[in-house]
């Protein structure tokens, strides 16, 4: 427990430093800082993995069952996806755009209760392991696509800035990476939905009931399906697609956190809002 908490806190600090490095790199154009940032992410990943592993051992199950566990695993998924996309496409600036998302998620995790609670009976299923572990990578990939799309908009805006053109790849490349990330995220999201449906069927005998969580995963899935089609058909490979990918990620975040906080409960905020408009 101590080990888990400590390594989680160290992870938090190290990721924060990574983000600061990437920001300094970007704002003050200090090349070295990007390398430090990248190093910090790797160090953070090590501690993050230790934290998750100790929790898994402690709880004798994968840490995927409540808001804290899922949030920290989700952040881990973003970090892993980032690590892979940075390694593969080798551009330093990616970190400037992905670390804020990483921090957003991991600080959300830090705000949740870290108590290890036993699973309620419905959660004791192997399907949930597939369900949640694929969700981590799906959301992680969408996060990358969102970061890349922000870069796209920036690069499009600051066409003449030397630093930007040196460090941010061409618009075509950005679009391609974003597309690949979304393709990966979309496949994973499909697995998430299918495994969730199978699990719901085992537990309650209904594989799809349009509860808010299911509904929002459907909405997110449709958003990305539309993205894939318009990009393919209309050759939409421009600012519109980039904005679209960003909106898609907002839907991802809402599906994950918003449904539980804003839409849940009898007198949900959403309903209050609805009465006001």
């Amino acid at each position: 427990m101590l080990l888990e908490n400590q390594s989680f806190n160290i992870t938090l600090v190290v990721y924060t430093i990574a983000m600061i490095c990437y920001f300094v790199f970007f704002l003050f154009r200090k090349e070295m800082m990007a390398d430090y940032g990248s190093l910090m992410i790797k160090i953070g990943l090590v501690f993050h993995t230790v934290s998750l592993t100790t929790r898994a051992v402690e709880a004798a199950r994968l840490p995927l069952s409540n808001q804290y566990e899922f949030a920290t695993s989700f952040a881990w998924g973003i970090a892993i996806c980032f690590f892979e996309f940075e390694r593969r496409y080798k551009f330093k600036i990616l970190g400037t755009f992905v670390t804020p998302l990483l921090l957003l998620v991991i600080f959300y995790a830090a705000m949740q209760s870290r108590e290890i609670r036993p699973l309620m009976p419905a959660l004791q299923s192997n399907w949930i392991i597939i369900h949640v572990s694929t969700a981590i990578f799906s959301y992680g990939a969408f996060a990358i696509a969102c970061g890349i799309s922000v870069m796209y908009l920036l690069r499009d805006r600051l066409k003449t800035d030397k630093f930007i053109t040196n460090h941010i790849p061409s618009l075509e490349t950005l679009d391609l990476i974003s597309y690949r990330a979304i393709a990966l995220g979309f496949i994973m999201l499909t697995v998430v939905i299918i495994s969730g449906a199978i699990w719901a069927d085992r537990a309650w005998g209904r594989y799809w009931q349009w509860d808010p969580k299911e509904t929002w995963s459907f909405i997110t899935w449709v958003i990305y399906a539309i993205y894939l089609h318009v990009r393919l058909n209309k050759g939409w490979k421009d600012k519109k697609t980039a904005w679209y990918a960003i909106i898609g990620f907002a839907a991802v975040l809402f599906t994950y956190a918003g449904v539980n906080t804003i839409l849940s409960g009898y007198h949900s905020y959403a309903m209050i809002l609805l009465n006001m408009v």
């Binding site: 036993p118 496949i187 299918i194 085992r202 005998g205 594989y207 349009w210 509904t215 929002w216 839409l263």
Partner: protein, 424 residues
Amino acid sequence: MENKKIKKVLNLLRSMKFGLFLLGILAMISLVGSIIPQERELSFYQNNFSEGRLNLILALRLNNIYRSWYFVMLFGFLCVNLTLCSITRLGNVLNRMRTLPKVDNTNPTETITFKHKEDQENYINGIFEGNGFKHFEMKKEKDKILYIGRKFRIGYLGSWLIHLGMLIVILSYGYGQYTNFSTSVYGVPGSIIDVEGTDFRVAIEDFRVDYREDGTVNQYYTDLKLLNSNDEILKSQEIFVNRPLGYNGFNFYQSATGWAADLVFRRDNEVIEDVLYESTVFIEENEEVAIHFTKFYPDFIATERGLFTRSNHLNNPMFLYSLFFNGIRVDMNVAAPGDLIEWNEYQIKLDNPRMYTYLEVNRLKGKIAAITGGLLAMVGLILAFYIKPATLLISLEKNKLHIYGNDKGMINVGLNNQNRQLEV
């Protein structure tokens, strides 16, 4: 004229634009449904929404949006759209799997000289091998030989399979909803109960709750025997959450639990015995007296803040009840098991507290089809995104060698429309 119109409509119906429009609208309707709580009682909406909102909700059926005619109809259109577009696209897909790149004979750009005729063959072999084509076929035409290598042609089927899979999922879901049957059974261990709306009976052999040390529930177990109307055993199984009993499309799910007690109701010499479940009422024949079993406390404690139970164990069991006489509450109190509750000539006893099991029963058809559709779509997605088909075509015309790859394939092969002169 008529034909033209029909064609126009058909083209619209099967267009991707229309399909995406439908998906978008469906997503937006779902969004509304996720904000407005669904399928609550009318009073819920009356209490939570202003008059105007309420009327709007009821008029547009926003309180049961996923079963509203317009939501179902949009899904219907989506099915039509997917069907038409899948039919028209199948030909294209198969064509793309079959056709070869267009051969255009421009003049050779380089000359390669061989000593022997066999070297030439080795050279061609090498091109295929070097580009990852293990096999290729040879086709002799009038004045030339074609060498054709193809890889991952199955990739072309990817997007077609995705859409077919989705169509199957939607149709099977719709069918399942349309033919859905659901009910529930509950009872204490030892009871045999008819399953409403079916020919089944169930015998609840045993029911156990597995508590953890901290008092939370680890699991609920019911030993269940499924019987037919002649009381022959059809199936017998221990069920728990996430492990339903399935028989002939019917599934029995561990769903809930609560407390029950034996009720003895006595008036003069007349004795009625029954099982009374927590938060239900027993009403005697003449409807004069009724007893409501309000709540059960296994380990009862009364404090200033109210009545509580200290644990789930039967250390100090107590029933909270209300007694009604001619519709008016005349008594509300707690009673230990076996305590006599008296009113006028009536004597009532609650005893033998134990947990009952509550099982959901349903039959949802089309599950296998739905999962098949889902898997097809998955396979399709992997094919569409990760299996890139490639074709390599070499034509040898006298001593002129032309190399072609198809559009997508050339990304892999990296040789497009190269022409080489071969000399022996």
